[in-house]
Symmetry: C2
Subunit: 620 residues, 2 copies
C-alpha cells in the first residue's frame, strides 16, 4: 500500500517534492514551500492559483480548467486547486499567483506593488573641495550633502583621509541618519541584506538585493545547537549548567549564520562585504542566545524574557563576517514563548488590518496563537507538546526520509513516505491524518479510544478491520505491515499515540477557546485561520479540523501562509516602515498566560474530546 511518489518541480524556485498520485497540485505546491493564493478556498472559482504546466496534457480535465480562457489553457495554464498530480510535472508559478503577492509587498521581479525602502540605503555624493573661501569642516561639508547625519568616532577617523583620497566624492551608506560607511566611486547599485528564520532545528537565510528587493539566494543549515539538545529547554539547561554554555551556544549559531552567508554570497557571486544588514526572527530562546542574553529565566517559572523591543546589534560585535558596519536586527518579542518569529509572522499576515476576526496559528513544539479582532491582538502559546514533531509517539519520528507523512484511510489504507525509502515510523502530519480518518470511519470514538473489532459500528470495511490488533484492553491500528516496514515491526498507530495527540490538540484548542471568549467571538465568526510555519504547511486542513486542532469552520477559511516568519523578516529587511509596524504590533499585542486563566484546565479537559463530526469536506 506504499504508493509510488511522483516528482513535481516548481519554477522559478526550482523546488521539488514527491507526492502520491492524486494529490491536489495546490497541496504539492504548499509542501514545496510555494504558497499560492486561494481566496476562494480552493474551489476553482477565483482563478488566483493559476500556474502553467510545462508539457501540459493536451486534454485537461474540465475541473482543472475553471476560470481560464481557451488561450490560457492552450498555453498550459491550469488552476492548482483543481489539478490532480498523476504524472511527473514541471510547474511554472507566475509571481502574481503566490501568497506573497496577495500581501502587496513583493519584490521588483514579481511585477507586483513594491515598496523597497530599506533602513540601510546608499547615496552618491560629490563635494566641492575646500578652499580659503570655503574652509568648512570635513563633517560639515559632508552633512551639507547628506543631511544631518551622525557619524561615529570610529568612522570619523576615516572621513578626512577618504575625502581627500577620493577627490571629495564617493558613496555613503546610511542607516537611520547614521553614516554606516563610505565607499569609493558610485556603489549605489550594490547592497544586500539577509533575512533569517532562526529556528531551533533549522536556520534558513535568504539573500536580498536591497536596491531592487530581488531574492538572490536561499541557504539553510541545521542549527548546530542541536548537539546541545533538541529543544529550547535542553539548551537553556545547558546554559544554566555550564559556565561557558551561553558562549558556546552563541558561537555555534554565529558560525552557522556565517556558513549560510558564505553560501548565499557564493550563490549570488557577490562579496560578503556587500551585505549591510541582517534581520533575524526566532523564538525568544534562540533570539536571546544569539544576542548573548542569558536565557535561563526563560526556562523556569515565571518564564521571563530579557527584552520586548527589537534589538539592534553590530554584526562585527557578534562576529558575523559581513560588512564591518552591518547591523543585525532581532525581532521584538511578545513573551517567553511568543517570540520574534511570531511577531514576524504577524507582520507578514498584516494581522491588525483585517475587518473580521482572524486567528493566526503556528504549530510546532509550542503552538503560538494570535487572535486579531480589528486592532485588538491577543497572543499566547500553548505547550502543544512534541507529538506534532513525532516525539513521544511510540513509532514517531521527525519528517525525515522514511517517515510516513501522509495517510489516507477510507476503504483501504494508503500512505506516503518521505524519500525513496521503506516506512520507518510516522511523523506529525501522518498522525493527524490517521486519527482524523479513523474518526471518520468510526474506528476511533469521540473519547479517543481505538475500538476493538467487536465494538466497531456497522459498515467499517473489512480491509480496515483487518488492520486492528487488540492486546489486553488496548487496540492499535497497523499503518504499514512488518513486511513493508524498514524494521521487523509493523508501523502502527497506538492507543497511547492518540492520547498524546489529544493532549497536544486539546492544549491548542483550549487556548483558542479562551482567547475567543476573551474578545467575545464565536468560533463560527472567525473569518480566517492563517496557518503559519513549516508544520502548518504540511498538515491537511480538513484533518486538523476533524481532530479539533482547528476550529470547526469551512475549509475555505483556513489558509496556509507558509513561512510567515521568514516573510516578515524579509519585509523588515526591505522596508524601514515595516520595522515600525513590527514594533506597533508587538506593542499592541496583549500576552495571555493560559496557565493563569482559571478556566484553562476545564477547557483543556473538554478540548480533549474530539469533535462529533466534520462540518464539511474540503479538498485537502
Amino acid at each position: 500500500m506504499h504508493g509510488h511518489e511522483i516528482k513535481v518541480t516548481f519554477q522559478p524556485s526550482g523546488r521539488s517534492v514527491y507526492v502520491l498520485p492524486g494529490t491536489v497540485l495546490l497541496e504539492a505546491a504548499g509542501r514545496a514551500g510555494v504558497i499560492l493564493q486561494t481566496p476562494c478556498g480552493g474551489k476553482g472559482n477565483c482563478g488566483k492559483c493559476r500556474v502553467r504546466l510545462v508539457d501540459a496534457p493536451s486534454d485537461p480535465t474540465p475541473a482543472s480548467v475553471g476560470t481560464l480562457s481557451e488561450g490560457q489553457i492552450a498555453e498550459g495554464y491550469r488552476l492548482a486547486c483543481c489539478t490532480l498530480v498523476d504524472a511527473p510535472l514541471v510547474v511554472e508559478v507566475p509571481p502574481e499567483s503566490t501568497f506573497e503577492s496577495q500581501q502587496q509587498i513583493l519584490t521588483a521581479d514579481s511585477g507586483a506593488e513594491v515598496e523597497i525602502a530599506p533602513l540601510v540605503h546608499k547615496r552618491c555624493f560629490e563635494l566641492s573641495p575646500p578652499s580659503s573661501e570655503d574652509a568648512r569642516a570635513d563633517l560639515v561639508r559632508l552633512q551639507a550633502a547628506l543631511g544631518d547625519i551622525r557619524v561615529s568616532p570610529a568612522l570619523m577617523r576615516e572621513v578626512p583621509t577618504f575625502l581627500r583620497e577620493n577627490a571629495w566624492k564617493g558613496t555613503a551608506v546610511l542607516s537611520n541618519h547614521h553614516l554606516v560607511s563610505l565607499e569609493p566611486g558610485d556603489t549605489t547599485g550594490d547592497g544586500y541584506g539577509v533575512a533569517v528564520d532562526l529556528g531551533s532545528t533549522t536556520v534558513v537565510g535568504k539573500l536580498f538585493d536591497l536596491v531592487s528587493g530581488r531574492e538572490c539566494g536561499v541557504a539553510s543549515q541545521i542549527n548546530p545547537q542541536v548537539t546541545f539538545g533538541d529543544d529550547v529547554i535542553s539548551r537553556i539547561m545547558h546554559v544554566r549548567e555550564n559556565e561557558d554554555g551561553l558562549a558556546a551556544l552563541q558561537a555555534a549559531v554565529v558560525e552557522c549564520l556565517n556558513t549560510i552567508v558564505q553560501d548565499l554570497v557564493a550563490q549570488a557571486e557577490i562579496e560578503a562585504e556587500e551585505v549591510y544588514e541582517i534581520v533575524l526572527a526566532g523564538n525568544s530562546t534562540m533570539q536571546q542566545i544569539l544576542c548573548g542574553y542569558d536565557p535561563s529565566a526563560l526556562g523556569e517559572v515565571p518564564f521571563v524574557q530579557a527584552f520586548e523591543q527589537a534589538q539592534i546589534l553590530a554584526a562585527s560585535d557578534l562576529g558575523l563576517t559581513v560588512n564591518a558596519a552591518a547591523e543585525v536586527y532581532v525581532f521584538p518579542q511578545i513573551g517567553s514563548f511568543v517570540g520574534g518569529d511570531t511577531v514576524a509572522g504577524m507582520v507578514a499576515a498584516r494581522l491588525d488590518r483585517w475587518d473580521e476576526p482572524v486567528l493566526f496559528v503556528d504549530i510546532g513544539t509550542n503552538g503560538e496563537i494570535v487572535l486579531a479582532k480589528g486592532d485588538q491582538l491577543l497572543a499566547t502559546s500553548t505547550a502543544a507538546g512534541p507529538a506534532f514533531e513525532g516525539a513521544r509517539i511510540r513509532q514517531g519520528m521527525r519528517a525525515a526520509a522514511g517517515a510516513i507523512e501522509k495517510v489516507i484511510i477510507s476503504d483501504d489504507v494508503s500512505i506516503n513516505v518521505i524519500g525513496d525509502a521503506p516506512p520507518a515510523g510516522l511523523c506529525g502530519t501522518a498522525l493527524i491524518d490517521a486519527v482524523a480518518d479513523l474518526l471518520r470511519v468510526g474506528i476511533i470514538d469521540e473519547t479517543g479510544r481505538i475500538l476493538p473489532v467487536e465494538e466497531l459500528p456497522a459498515g467499517v470495511p473489512d480491509a480496515l478491520q483487518a488492520q486492528l490488533i487488540t492486546e489486553g484492553d488496548e487496540t492499535r491500528f497497523v499503518l504499514a505491515s512488518a513486511e513493508e516496514a524498514a524494521g521487523d515491526e509493523a508501523i502502527c498507530l497506538w492507543q497511547k499515540d492518540v492520547r498524546e495527540l489529544q493532549l497536544a490538540t486539546g492544549a491548542v484548542r483550549a487556548g483558542i477557546q479562551i482567547m475567543l471568549r476573551r474578545v467575545g467571538v464565536e468560533p463560527e465568526a472567525i473569518h480566517r485561520v492563517l496557518l503559519a510555519g513549516a508544520f502548518g504547511n504540511f498538515i491537511r486542513r480538513s484533518n486538523a479540523r476533524r481532530i479539533g486542532l482547528l476550529p470547526q469552520i469551512a475549509g475555505d477559511r483556513i489558509r496556509f501562509i507558509g513561512n510567515a516568519a521568514s516573510l516578515g523578516a524579509k519585509l523588515v529587511l526591505l522596508s524601514d516602515s515595516e520595522r515600525a509596524y513590527a514594533a506597533r504590533l508587538q506593542e499592541q499585542a496583549e500576552h495571555i498566560d493560559l496557565s493563569l486563566d482559571p478556566e484553562f484546565q476545564m477547557e483543556f479537559g473538554m478540548a480533549m474530546i474530539f469533535p462529533a463530526a466534520d462540518i464539511d469536506v474540503c479538498k485537502d
Copy 2:
C-alpha cells in the same frame, strides 16, 4: 638687581608663588592661578577682592584697608588690590572673592549658587521580582523604574544576571537616557568626572565629585607629544611624514591622560572605576589627535578641521583606564585655529550674555580673539607668533626656572626670576614689561627702535643709560649683567627681540581692529577685555596695553579670567545644560579668516607702530 623673592601661599588651594617685594597681592594671586574678583578694576573701591592674611600685621597701611570694617581688619581681612607683598604671607581666599563665583556657577563647597546636573547621573532602584502575575521582560521592568532608557546590547548581556544576583535592586548609571552601567547596592553617592585642559605643552586634569560638584584634585603633566615637536605644526608634520605618526601621538596623549587620572584618583582615594566622564578642551589639533582624526588638513592651506560639533567617544575605545562605560566629551570647534579650548573659554565667560561689547583674548603661540556684541560672536585667531612663549627671542626661554618673568624699569632696572636660580633668559611677560617700560622712559621710540645713548631724549636716568650697548647701528638693553647671569653673558633685550614683539603684537592688534570694525564698535566702547589662559594670567595689563597688544581702554576694564578653558570644561562636566550652551556658542560664532580680509595687511603694518602714550596708569 636680582630681587629676593617672597613666598605667598594661598588657601584653601595651597598654591604658592614667589614674587618681588612690592608686588600687589592681587597680581601674586593671579600668578598662583587664584583669580580674584575686581569689578572696580583694582582701585580699592568695591571690596570684592577681600582676602584674609594669616598673621596679618597689626598696623595695615591705610590703602590696604579700603572698604573694610574695623572688625574685618582686626580679623586680618585686606583688599588684595591695595596690599603690597613685603613679607612672606599665607592668604585665605574666601570663595566669594574668586572670579568663578562671579560667574555664579561654583561648586557646592563654595556656598555660592550651584547648578549640579551632570549628564552622567545615578539612580537607585528596587524592582518587584517577577511572578506569574507579572512576568514582564527584565528590560521592561527596569524601564518602568528608570524611564524609557536605552540599553546597549553589551550591557543587556549583564542585565538578567545582575538583576537576579542582586535581588532586583541596585544603582543605575545613566547618561542622556542611556543606561551606562549597573552597580550593586546604593552607589548614588559615588561618581566622579575629570575636566581636562588639553594644552600642546601642558595637560591639566581636575577631578570633580559629580554629586556635590566639589573639586577633589588637580594633576598636570607635560604633554608627552612635545617629544614630537614643540608646536602643533611640527606635530601635524610628524603625522604627515610617518605612517604610524597619528597613532603614536594619540597613544602618547592617552598615556598622559591615564597618568593624570591615576594621580587624581590617588589624591581623592577613589578607584578609577568611579570616574564616569571626561570632558576635554584643547586646540583643534590636540583634539583631533586625541580623537584619532587625521589633523593633516589643519596644517596646510586652506586649513580645514574635521568636525565642528562636540565629539562623544567611549573612554574604553580610546584606552582610557576609567569606568568601562565612561564617555569622553571633546569640545566643539569653531575653526582650525579657534578650537575647543576657545569654546570652553567662551562658555566660562558667558560670552553672549554681556550687555555691552566684550573682547575675549587668549594669547599664546596663536592669539584667539572673540568679540561679543550681544549675541553676535566673531571669532578669529592670529599668528601671534612664538615671541610670547620666548621663542625667536635671542635670549628667550619658556616661563621655567631661571627665566626673567618680570621687569620693572624706572630709575633703575628691577627683575624677578622664576625659581631660586640666577637669570638664564627672559620669557614673554618680561619681554612685554621691558619694552613697555622702555617706551615709557623713552629708550624705545614708537617705531620700536632702541635708541643709542646719543639719541635719547632728555631725562633718561643715568643708571638706565648705562645699560645701553650699541654695536654698529643696533642698540641693546642689558637686563642682567654677565656677573648676575647664569651663563657668561649678560641677558639683554635686543633690537631683533623688539621687532619680534612688534610682529606678534601687531597681528593681535590688527585682528582686534578688524573685528571691531566688522561689528561697528570703537575700541573705547569695549566694556571688558577678558584675558584668558596661562599667559594672559601673567602679563601686566598696563604693559600689554602700553605696547598696543590690548586696546587703549582703562585698566579696570581689562580682566584676568584665569584658565577659562579649564573652567568651561568643568562647567560642561558638572551640568548637562552647559553642553547645549557650548553647542549654541559654537553655532553662533562666526569664524573670521583674517588672511582673507583685504584690510588685514594694512592694519597689520599700522599696528606694528607702538601707541603714542598710555591713557592711564593702572596698578598692575
